[in-house]
């Protein structure tokens, strides 16, 4: 009897060690996420549906472009509707060097000026959505330096095999800056995209959940066509619906200039 117990215990330890060994580390998963092909350039339309806790909707239509200049990623978003936000445009230069602050500009049509804005407000919510400036800038990628990551388990999420990853800001300062105390992500094992992310505030309370949906290949690149955010604190919801997604069509370099922000589309 004792021999059987010992054998069972040994088997359990061995199998659990084996499982742990087969799980990739959090850092490996993050690197795989960042290595995912995004194309050199991208153009797309986006419909934003912002819904408050009473169900009142605000809808924005945008056109955006993104292009890599070497390892530097430049993104521009132009608002087309509604009237009160039309012609607003946002430009960001995302540098690969961790120590180098990104550069950001916002064109506000009411001022008719391009305003330089600090990139350290990355935890601020982007123009009334439930995405922060950092969320918008990174899209489906992650900043390696901001978090330490641990792979918790494998899990089937709505028929998709995922790794469940826990990301914790490297220190309190970064946590305050990002507005997150912890993030749990469900990363699709096959395509290295997050299908669901749960965000917790710096006090550990549930903050918001981002669902990545309608993922399909465009020009050979896995592409999310719906991003949905439920903000658990405010009851506010944000839905981004992407259309007319085109990769590696010629996107002119001068789209990513202050001149282009002022001129609009």
């Amino acid at each position: 009897m004792n021999t059987t117990k010992t054998l069972l215990a040994t088997l359990l330890i061995v199998s659990s060690n084996t499982m742990a060994n087969t799980l990739p580390t959090g850092e490996q998963i993050a690197k795989n996420i960042n290595a995912r092909n995004e194309g050199i350039s991208l153009s797309r339309k986006m419909r934003m549906v912002l819904t408050d806790k009473r169900g009142k909707e605000r809808i924005r239509e945008t056109v955006s472009y993104r292009k890599y200049f070497g390892n530097e990623k430049r993104t521009v978003i132009h608002y087309l509707t509604p009237r009160n936000i039309k012609k607003t445009a946002f430009l960001t230069f995302d540098y690969p060097e961790a120590e180098k602050d990104d550069d950001q500009w916002l064109y506000l049509p009411a001022m008719r000026k391009v305003r330089r804005i600090s990139a350290s407000d990355r935890g601020d919510y982007f123009l009334g959505t439930d995405f922060t400036y950092e969320d918008i800038k990174k899209e489906s990628k992650v900043t390696l330096e901001d978090y330490t990551r641990k792979t918790l388990r494998e899990e089937d999420l709505n028929g998709n095999p995922t790794y469940v990853l826990k990301a914790t800001p490297v220190n309190d300062e970064v946590a305050e800056e990002l507005g997150y105390g912890k993030v749990i992500k469900w990363i699709d094992k096959n395509i290295w995209m997050s299908r669901k992310s749960e965000f917790y505030d710096v006090r550990g309370k549930p903050l918001k959940t981002i669902y990545t949906e309608d993922i399909k290949k465009v020009d050979g690149i896995w592409t999310a066509h719906r991003l949905k955010v439920d903000n658990h604190k405010t009851g506010h919801k944000t839905l981004f619906i992407f259309s007319d997604v085109i990769y590696d069509k010629e996107v002119r370099d001068d789209f990513f200039t202050q001149r282009a922000l002022r001129r609009g589309l």
């Binding site: 605000r58 009237r83 550069d103 009411a110 001022m111 330089r116 804005i117 600090s118 507005g179 001068d254």
Partner: protein
Amino acid sequence: MIFLPNVHYVAACKYLIRSCLVLTIFASPVASADTTATLLDNTTFNTRIEGEWAVLTKDGSTQKRQLMIEPELKTEVGNDSSITTIVRLRMDEKDNLSPSDHSQTELREFYLNTSIKDSIVILGKQQVVWGKSDGRKVLDIINPQDFREFILDDFDQSRIPLWIVNTEIPINNVTLQLLLIPDQTYHKFATPGSSYQITSPVIIPPGPVGASIQTKPTITPDKILQDADAGFRLSTFTHGWDLSLNYLYHYDDTPVLFRTINITASGLNIDITPQYKRTHLIGGTFSNTFGALTLRGELGYLTDKYISTTNPFDTDGVVKTGELKYVLGFDWYGFTDTLLSTQIFQTYLDNHKTNMIQGQLNTQITFLIKQDYINKTLHAEMLVLHDIDYEDGMLRLKLSYEYNDEINVYAGTDMFYGNKDGLFGQFKETDRFVSGIIIGF
């Protein structure tokens, strides 16, 4: 009761107005149905309607009850060109801001925006904005300003659009902007007897006691090309810095008040002849971010500024001087959804003489707090402008709420304080509460 338009009603109105405007502006008797249909398909129409009500705090009387409608039409022409038309209709039920001008109908902007290779060409009536400062102007002097409401209107609303040939040419990492402005339109000051008529001796020199003062007709440049303003801006982004170098050869938008003194048997007669004078403006701007802080600034030097003097022995009543202006601004984004901003603004006259109505050095500071709430639908703002030398200033508080995508409501207050001879203090009797609604579709 607030009128809340429903979505279908708004859409139907938009289509109807858009069709009428397109037909009015572009369609000719010989235009084919196909051409008209194409124009309609390539045209977007937006309208901004603003109703504003201002009440004076001193007696509760209505200072302003105004309705402003601004339809905007944009027609795409070809692949990379568009024509924008903005019209303004303004009606004010009260007489206080412009007693002789109850209503205004104006072609506000009308321009072709096109590109030639990599260059942008914008031809027509438009606004061109230079500079980095808020609330005060150093380089933002391409367009003159309507001071009907002093500086309380948004600059976007109070700038007077001009007919301009505006070209932006990229040259490697630099953009060269060239401007030719054959439009001789200047600042529009509040009319005599209106709420914001300028009386401050800092701007208008006081005449000697007992003198008879006559103002002669203003001498205004009138030759389209010879009197045109022209300028350029070189701008670039390098090593984290946004930099620009600006130059403008132009007529100062404020006329110089030349004075002639005649001593006659009936006493002292003073003739004031306002005349617009040319000057060179050279300056530049910079901005960069350092963590949560954005540093921005602009500097401008006017070579030929004429300042009135109260010296009775001065032959023409003005002293020519160079004027250096600069503003240094700090924007702090360290708190969530909050902007804290402060600016120091200084003016220095390099040929200052005793009895000039302005001091050699004038310093103003501004302080702005903006906060957003409820997913940026509710905005709170406080702006203070303070003149250190004249010990006067202005406080603005504003709360605005986006009810939905079409409707924005706001309420606030504009308060002036300090020395009655100061630029701001002269309006301390016009403190007011303001409320309004903006409908945009």
